[in-house]
């Protein structure tokens, strides 16, 4: 890219710490700096993403043949349960919290989060939660799926399931503390002059996300505590043998876990709304519509949970009510997709890795959205519920939406976070491999589900072999696709060309300080000169005022 070439530093200069660059050891401390915590969250999340990815690759290896020959069916259920739980609770949720931690104070011109110590506590709950969760596999592996429906979840294994519950409770508490912190920070700590409607859209989506976290997560915690009582104390909240009701657990579980889908993707909806205008040099199309649609999604997201239960014990009127609310949630989601498309239209699109991933996001998320509307239609859902069609649908949402969104955010904000540019060529290779692998893996699953392959099985009817082999090849391509990313990120963090303050010529506040930002973000309170998306009005973002770099630390990075 043109601007990258301009910015390349002289090749011979050794890597230098500059701006607010941190020593690597700082990332292993109980730091209260939101930037350190943000990176801690993201790196920890990524490590768990790799673990979840290894599990996914094992699942696909098993499913390459109809027989259970790679692992035993018992082990398969444990792997499948761990894959789902790790990916959702230890990757997507923490990485979203990491982005929010890093970006919110910088975007609103604050020096830190509202409750810095609480913030650090929230992060430091993630590693123990993760260690617990992964270790649960080795003590009577929980094998009832990430949904852990009783009675199956209370009669497959005592210790493993107990550890699993504890891990989610710890992770959930962390999420609640984070959500509280984000909301208060955004509501109370904006720089003077920044009204709510001058916030970048990432902040709007995080406000909506925080609301969902605060309303939904306590309900999940309650459900899991009751489940733990059933497990350890012999109570019968969900056990029909003692007068309990297993369907009650499903209601409580999905009351959190459907909104959780929006907790997973809303932060990335916000991020893409901030990335596209920068790389297309055009204001976001319909700022208010996109901001309000986040809230519409989060409100509607709270009243659609029973669409996961159309085939369980739900009375007919309930099915109809939840069908209609679920259908309507497509409208605010559509507003966002059309808004992003209209932002691209007539823009000046630069094919940076960040832009490629955001286009991949729109392309794949749209497919997931459309199948979501289909699934909302009760008569059709009755056929495909608990089949591979659903697996395809939610991977198009969670991989196509959330993971593409995370990669996009990393390519976009990496210069700010580390002070170094990433390699764009390998970024594009990463995108192409991920995009091909993702579609090859999950597209055939639609047909598998429609034709009659149920999910969560270690063995299947041999007529489904071909499509499963295709999906497995796709999964291997996806596994390989992470290698260029990891090498690129690690190498660039240390040796990448030095990033200027504002490599993408963006207008939001986080780009008005050094890369990486000073310890307290801004040396003096930043002044809002433009709105976050005022492209095309002749504002030329300042290119590296030299005084920002006058305060550089000049000694080499400690290693």
């Amino acid at each position: 890219m043109a601007q990258v070439e301009i910015l390349e530093s002289p090749a011979s200069s050794p890597p230098q710490a500059h701006g607010g660059e941190r020593k690597w050891t700082d990332y292993f401390t109980f730091s209260t700096d939101h930037k350190v915590i943000g990176i801690q969250y993201m790196v920890t999340g990524f490590i768990f993403y790799l673990i979840g990815g290894v599990l996914a690759t094992m699942i696909r290896t098993e499913l390459a043949t109809p027989q259970p020959d790679f692992v035993t069916p018992e082990a398969y259920n444990g792997i499948m349960t761990l894959h789902g739980t790790v990916m959702l609770f230890l990757w997507i949720v923490p990485v979203g919290a990491g982005l929010a931690n890093y970006l919110i104070p910088l975007m609103i011109g604050a020096r830190d989060m509202a409750f810095p110590r609480l913030n650090a506590i929230a992060f430091w709950m993630i590693p123990p939660s993760g260690i617990l969760l992964v270790s649960s596999y080795f003590f009577e592996a929980p094998s009832a799926g990430w949904t852990s429906y009783p009675p199956l979840s209370v009669n497959t294994g005592l210790v493993g399931q107990g550890i699993w519950i504890l891990a989610i409770l710890v992770g959930g508490t962390s999420s609640i503390l984070g959500g509280l912190n984000f909301a208060v920070t955004m509501l109370k700590m904006r720089v003077p002059g920044m009204t709510l409607f001058k916030m970048p859209l990432f902040c709007w989506s995080m406000l909506a996300t925080s609301m969902l976290i605060l309303i939904g997560t306590p309900v999940l915690a309650g459900a899991l505590i009751l489940l733990a009582f059933d497990l350890f104390a012999g109570t019968s909240f969900f056990n029909p043998a003692g007068g309990g009701n297993p369907v009650l657990f499903q209601h409580l579980f999905w009351f959190y876990s459907h909104p959780a889908v929006y907790i997973f993707v809303l932060p990335l909806f916000g991020a893409i709304s901030d990335v596209i205008p920068v790389h297309a040099r055009k204001p976001i199309f319909g700022y208010q519509a996109i901001a309000f649609s986040s809230f519409a999604i989060s409100f509607l997201g709270l009243i659609v949970w029973a669409h996961h239960m159309f085939t369980s014990g739900t009375p007919p009127w309930l099915r109809m009510f939840f069908m209609i609310t679920t259908m309507i949630i497509a409208v605010p989601t559509g507003i966002k997709i059309f808004g992003w498309l209209a932002t691209l239209w007539r823009g000046k699109i630069a094919y940076t890795s960040a832009m490629l991933f955001s286009m991949g996001f729109i392309a794949t998320f749209t497919i997931g959205g459309v199948t979501g509307v289909m699934l909302a239609a009760v008569p059709f859902d009755i056929h495909v519920h608990d089949t591979y069609f659903v697996v395809a649908h939610f991977h198009y949402i969670l991989f196509g939406g959330a993971v593409f969104g995370v990669y996009m955010s990393v390519y976009h904000w990496f210069p700010k976070m580390t002070g170094h540019m990433m390699n764009e060529f390998w970024g594009r290779v990463h995108f192409v491999l991920t995009f091909i692998g993702m579609n090859l893996t999950f597209m055939p699953m639609h047909e598998l589900g429609l034709m009659g392959m149920n999910r969560r099985v270690a063995l299947y009817d041999p007529q489904f072999t071909d499509l499963n082999v295709m999906a497995t090849i796709g999964a291997y391509i996806m596994a390989v696709s992470t290698i260029p990313f990891i090498i690129n990120a690690v190498w660039s963090w240390r040796y990448g060309p030095k990033a200027p303050a504002n490599p993408w010529r963006a207008l939001t506040l986080e780009w008005q300080t050094t890369s990486p930002p000073a310890i307290e973000n801004f040396d003096e309170l930043p002044v809002l000169k433009t709105g976050p998306y005022d492209y095309g009005l002749g504002y030329i973002p300042e290119i590296d005022p030299p005084e920002l770099y006058g305060k550089q630390v000049s000694e080499p990075t400690a290693s």
Binding site: G234, S312, L341, L450, G536
Partner: protein, 334 residues
Amino acid sequence: MKIPSSILTMLAGVTLTLVSLWYGQNHGLMPVAASHEAELVDELFDAMMVISVGLVILVEGVLIIAAIRFRRRDGDETDGPHIEGNVPLEILWTSIPTVIVLGISVYSFSLYQQMGGLNLSNQAADAGAVEVAYASDNSSNSGHLASAGIGLTQGMGDQPPVAVNVKALQYAFVFTYPESGVISGELKVPANRGVNLSMEAQDVIHAFWVPELRLKQDVVPGETTELSFIATREGTYPIVCAELCGPYHGAMRSQIQVQSPDEFDAWMQSQIASQDNAVETVAAAPAAERSDADYLAPLAQPLNLDVEADALAQLQAPAHSHEHPHYQMAARID
């Protein structure tokens, strides 16, 4: 000469519509439709496919065209036009999807009604419309009314529906015809006549799914769920458990055989005859090999309940003695 863009747009629109209409009818993504309900579901699916394919092509098409037409030229450091929005356009793309999803909702609702989704036996009984055939006297759950499922449709023919009690357990389905007491490991039903399944689970949640019937219903312990359908196409189709029920969930399968009414009656008569001859036939059904106590033992153990599994079994079937546990289940069901 340049072709005006309005004409190009119109042509693109027409092509898009034709392609989605064609693909929506010719996707070939569904297995054969073997029931009245399946035809209704396929109708809905085809309609949704037309809309979905159109929408996906539209979005991906706009994305690709934008990516090509509006790519940044080398050395161009300027911004695009300052366009913050377009209220009429935004209203348009809010209202069209609203109309579409409400339309799909209404359409789904009416299909659901035609499938009998709103006619569960407890409601139907209130309305006095449908006589429920499955609640025979000595069934352990007589008097229980289905709380969920798909009920009977109006006009399922003159004949009363064939009632079948379904027991789901790890990892099998057991089918009992309460009128004759016949027990079978696979489901046989006559074509073109209503079938009413009344389903119970023994241990964990299972789900009864026949892809060719497009019907699925969870079978939940402690609850009776119901599924009614009219199979229209003779043949043998898989019955699949669709709710994770343990390690061998993938192996929990059975078969449904849709037969001509004559074949079905002949089969039923032969079953009744052999049942009269030897009670062992009943026990030969795969699930009848084990007693209730055997089934409940794994449930009682991890719960650390201070009760013997036998006692639990007694709770469930208080009327029967434990002297003949081998036949207990058969006795309880018929």
